[in-house]
Amino acid sequence: MKHTTSTGPHLVLLTVYAIFVLAAGARSLVQIATRFGDAPLAYVLSLVAAATYVAGWFAIRRAAAGSPAFAGVMLWVELAGVVVVGTLSLVEPDWFPDATVWSDYGRGYGWVPAILPVAGLIWLYRRPAEPRSQT
């Protein structure tokens, strides 16, 4: 969980992303290793969620250092994942014999998976603009 040196709300975002890398990654790896056949789609989607959190962590770190383009893409991708998987888990429950990280919009994790990309986008668009270099 090494952070950029500049302080700000992104420190909290980075911490929560790191926790979710651990939570989603460990969960999906254990499920895939021990009972993949029970709910392959759900377990693969949990692994995708973990990969998204890894990318999100790097994206916020880069944005905090002055390169917001990657975060502008990744946070929307993450939000789309939560909305699509969350909706599918409600309208097509048969597709998900076991829950994914994003099932029911992240209800199993206190809806933090749905709140996190929104909080990230708010931070991204409200953070102070980088000062232009004077040449």
């Binding site: 969980m1 090494k2 952070h3 040196t5 302080t7 700000g8 709300p9 992104h10 420190l11 909290v12 980075l14 911490t15 929560v16 790191a18 926790i19 651990l22 939570a23 460990a26 969960r27 254990v30 021990t34």
Partner: protein
């Protein structure tokens, strides 16, 4: 033995979370005593881990051993990693990092009780 210790860890984690959130709300630099509260939570998490491992030796067989051990390990390492990441930053938002790690430690303590 596991339940009382886990509840103590959970209650103390909530206390640390509230103290850290107040620090963020007041926009105050992270006080030294918040670090000490956070390290004390780590000590309690280590005690919880030892009790959880002792429960295994006394015959407790969780449904998923890997999940159980994963939670035990996470409870111990989360706060030290968080504190290390903000070692050189005493800004108000660094208290938010402590709040997030403390809350996660409390949740993991509850999960240990649920999966054992």
């Amino acid at each position: 033995m596991l339940d009382p210790v886990a509840w103590i860890v959970t209650g103390y984690a909530v206390l640390v979370t509230v103290a850290a959130v107040v620090g963020v709300a007041l926009r105050a630099p992270r006080p030294r005593w918040l670090d000490q509260l956070a390290w004390m939570l780590t000590v309690l998490a280590v005690v919880l881990a030892l009790v959880a491992l002792a429960a295994l030796s006394e015959g407790t067989r969780p449904e998923s051993m890997s999940t159980y051990l994963g939670y035990v390990g996470a409870a111990v390492v989360m706060m030290p990693l968080a504190l290390t990441s903000i070692r050189e930053d005493r800004g108000p938002w660094s208290s938010g990092v402590v709040a997030a790690a403390a809350l996660a430690t409390g949740v993991v303590a509850v999960r240990i009780m649920m999966v054992r």
